[in-house]
């Protein structure tokens, strides 16, 4: 199986073959012969020679998106399958100087600090969202003009909702 793995902006080519004791894999020309065992809770116990890698693989909502925990570190990894057209490769990235303010968590809008059309500095407070008893001020990621505010004070928002757009 030939796949691509995106890990912090770099893309790696992976070729994966299942063998009796686990898998053999080639990644960017580096070859691995790995023993693979499954444990509970999405944990893969992988051995590369004598080295032990306890990988906890968590599937994200989007197909092909994973978070892999290994030795206290967390790797966000996107698997791209060239055989499948609906690649997630082009999903990311904002166009042409537009910045969206996205709610990172579900919560309640308690205050809007700017009006549509205002010019704001980078770092200026735009909207205050309350979740888990804390008020979190969502700041402008860049200087610009507030082109839209999509929510009103008192509104309930979900993680991923675009609250405002700055251009």
């Amino acid at each position: 199986m030939k796949l691509k793995a995106q890990i912090s902006d770099t893309t790696h080519e992976i070729s994966l073959t299942t063998v009796e004791h686990g898998v053999t894999a080639e990644i960017d020309g580096r070859n691995y012969d790995l023993e693979v065992r499954e444990s509970t809770g999405g944990v893969l116990l992988i051995k590369n020679g004598t080295s032990v890698y306890r990988c906890r693989v968590e599937s994200k909502r989007e197909t092909g998106k994973y978070e892999v925990g290994l030795r206290g570190r967390s790797y966000p990894i996107s698997i791209i399958d060239p055989k499948r057209l609906r690649s997630s490769e082009n999903a990311a990235g904002h166009g042409h100087g537009t910045a969206e303010i996205v709610s990172p968590m579900p919560g309640k809008v308690v205050r809007i600090l700017v009006e549509q059309g205002n010019t704001v500095e980078a770092g200026a407070g735009i909207i205050v969202v309350e979740a888990m008893k804390m008020q979190n001020e969502m700041k402008a990621p860049k200087a610009g003009v507030v082109v839209s505010i999509n929510v009103a004070a008192g509104a309930t928002v979900n993680a991923g909702d675009v609250l405002a757009v700055i251009e």
């Binding site: 199986m1 796949l3 793995a5 890990i7 790696h12 992976i14 994966l16 299942t18 898998v23 894999a25 990644i27 580096r30 691995y32 790995l34 693979v36 499954e38 444990s39 509970t40 809770g41 999405g42 944990v43 893969l44 992988i46 590369n48 890698y53 990988c55 906890r56 693989v57 968590e58 599937s59 197909t63 092909g64 994973y66 892999v68 925990g69 290994l70 030795r71 206290g72 570190r73 790797y75 990894i77 698997i79 399958d81 990172p104 968590m105 579900p106 919560g107 308690v110 205050r111 600090l113 407070g125 205050v128 309350e130 979740a131 888990m132 008893k133 804390m134 008020q135 979190n136 001020e137």
Partner: protein
């Protein structure tokens, strides 16, 4: 001794109190809001009463509902934990009026310490030094601006009814004041139902050091030494230790004596904490506030002194004298606690509610985890995001850091983001290891972190992680390609681990 105690709280502190009840063979009664019906604190109790819907004001903050639950179940005493009604003097009075015992100090002591202004007055009268600041609450931005100019920036805005960093803002320049004032006021109103603020001069490079006091109803007042809680984010403690890394027994005695003096002055009983700012250079200390309740960070004091503070709270509330004198108290070794929050440290510590899909809690020598969740628990958007407190004790500060590092590396929580990765970096930070702490630690820590060149990644670790994800992907593809045969559905069961093996067999 009490036969039955109602715990007017939720999450890890409710579980902590339930454990103390079990130790004393007292039957614990839980209260819960609707979304908490299947939570751990309910499951570990003998009885439980639903006291309303999700919003705290309609459930955990409702005095009549909590007292009704106690009456209904025949509980003789109420332990408020911390947060919610724990520092509400009206609640303490209402509990007493209902003929029940409030496990905490007298309402009058709570009232004095509950307002920052009366608390500061009490401290001055008891001869305890205070930080220069306003004595009366500040009601307008104009007044705030005037007072801030008078003390000189930086200044600190604080909620009169506050605690835990809510409604608190450090203001370093005049132009930040208005926004800080509005936000603090609004946060205070929402958290405590009281939007009054006061303003203080900010101390340079202050260490946050607090003294644990304990008093009984027979006139004994004892201090259990200090905790250093200088590592704070948004004025909220995230790492606490006992003793302070400066470990100065003369300072401990002076601060301890001041704290005991203050507790005596307000006829205190039960567990309380007197918070001080200590100027790093001069070691002068200033009274900040007194928390008239158990503290989140009580485990580090328990680990170092050996006393069970919750057990002691219960026996003191029952009228027993303290089980130890000042002379009995000995500090052995060192303990550090970190607060594990459902927050994303890679995304400005935004809350990360959700379901805990995998949980692997560390064990072994010196490690203590006080948790309120288990695998499958929902971390709700409605309440405080603290899910656990992880503490490590060692014979020396070095050994306690070694053990905490090991425990943090073992700890795994999936399904939500937590502050564990943040703490893994803290325990490896040179300034932390040296014990160079003050309340500016976190911002300096982040500055150092940015300065460091991007860590040289271990190429093999990255490769293996990518391959692990690819293996998962290929299995998911195979599984979905063959759907909807039952055989596949079953093999997916098996993929999820051998744990379910037994259940699958039984159901076929």
């Amino acid at each position: 001794m009490f036969k039955k105690i109602l715990i007017a709280n939720r999450g890890e502190i409710a579980v902590r109190i339930i454990r103390a009840c079990r130790d004393l063979q007292i039957s614990p009664v839980a209260v819960y809001s609707e979304p908490d019906a299947a939570s751990v604190h309910v499951a570990l109790s003998d009885e439980a009463v639903c006291i309303g819907p999700a919003p705290s004001v309609e459930s955990y903050l409702s005095i009549p509902k909590v007292i009704d639950a106690a009456r209904k179940t025949g509980a003789q005493a109420i332990h408020p934990g911390y947060g919610f009604l724990a520092e509400n003097a009206d609640f303490a009075a209402a509990v007493k009026e209902a003929g029940l015992v409030f496990i905490g100090p007298p309402a009058e002591a709570m009232r004095i310490m509950g307002s920052k202004t009366t608390a500061r007055r009490a401290a001055v009268e008891a001869g305890v030094p205070i930080v220069p600041g306003t004595v009366e609450p500040i009601s307008t931005i104009g007044e705030a601006e005037r007072v801030a100019e008078q003390f000189g920036y930086p200044v600190m805005l604080k909620a009169s009814a506050g605690g835990g960093g809510k409604g608190m803002r450090l203001v370093t320049t005049a132009k930040e004041l208005r926004s800080a004032f509005d936000n603090a006021k609004s946060e205070a109103a929402s958290a405590f139902g009281d939007d009054s603020l006061y303003l203080e001069k900010a101390i340079e490079r202050p260490r946050h050091i607090e003294i644990q006091v304990f008093a009984d109803t027979h006139g004994n007042v004892v201090h259990l030494g200090e905790r250093e809680c200088s590592i704070q984010r948004r004025h909220q403690k995230v790492v606490e230790e006992c003793p302070s890394p400066i470990n100065d027994s003369t300072l401990r005695e002076k601060m301890g004596a001041a704290a005991v003096q203050l507790a005596r002055a307000v006829n205190y009983s039960g567990a309380g904490t007197v918070e001080f700012l200590v100027a790093d250079a001069t070691r002068e200390f200033y009274f900040l506030e007194m928390n008239t309740r158990l503290q989140v960070e009580h485990p580090v004091t328990e680990l170092v002194t050996g006393y069970d503070l919750v057990r002691e709270q219960i026996s003191v509330a029952d009228g027993a004298p303290l089980s130890f004198t000042q002379e009995d108290v000995r500090w052995r070794g060192h303990a550090i606690e970190v607060r594990v929050y459902a927050e994303d440290p890679e995304n400005n510590f935004f809350p990360s509610p959700g379901t805990i899909s995998y949980l692997h809690v560390p064990f072994g020598p010196g490690v203590r985890d006080d948790s309120g969740v288990e695998m499958g628990s929902d971390v709700s958007i409605h309440y405080d995001p603290m899910i656990s407190k992880l503490a490590a004790w060692g014979n020396t500060r070095e050994e306690s850091i070694d053990r905490l590092r090991r425990a943090l590396d073992e700890y795994e929580i999936s399904g939500i983001k937590t502050t564990l990765p943040f703490f893994r970096e803290i325990v490896r930070d040179e300034e932390f290891i040296k014990g160079h702490l003050d309340t500016g630690f976190i911002s300096r820590f982040y500055a150092r972190r940015d300065e460091r060149a991007t860590e040289v990644d271990n190429a093999i670790d990255g490769d293996i992680a990518s391959i692990a994800a690819a293996i998962h992907y290929s299995r998911q593809q195979r599984a979905s390609a063959n759907r909807p045969s039952v055989k596949e559905a079953e093999s997916r069961w098996k993929m999820s681990g051998r744990v379910l093996g037994q259940q699958i067999r039984d159901r076929q």
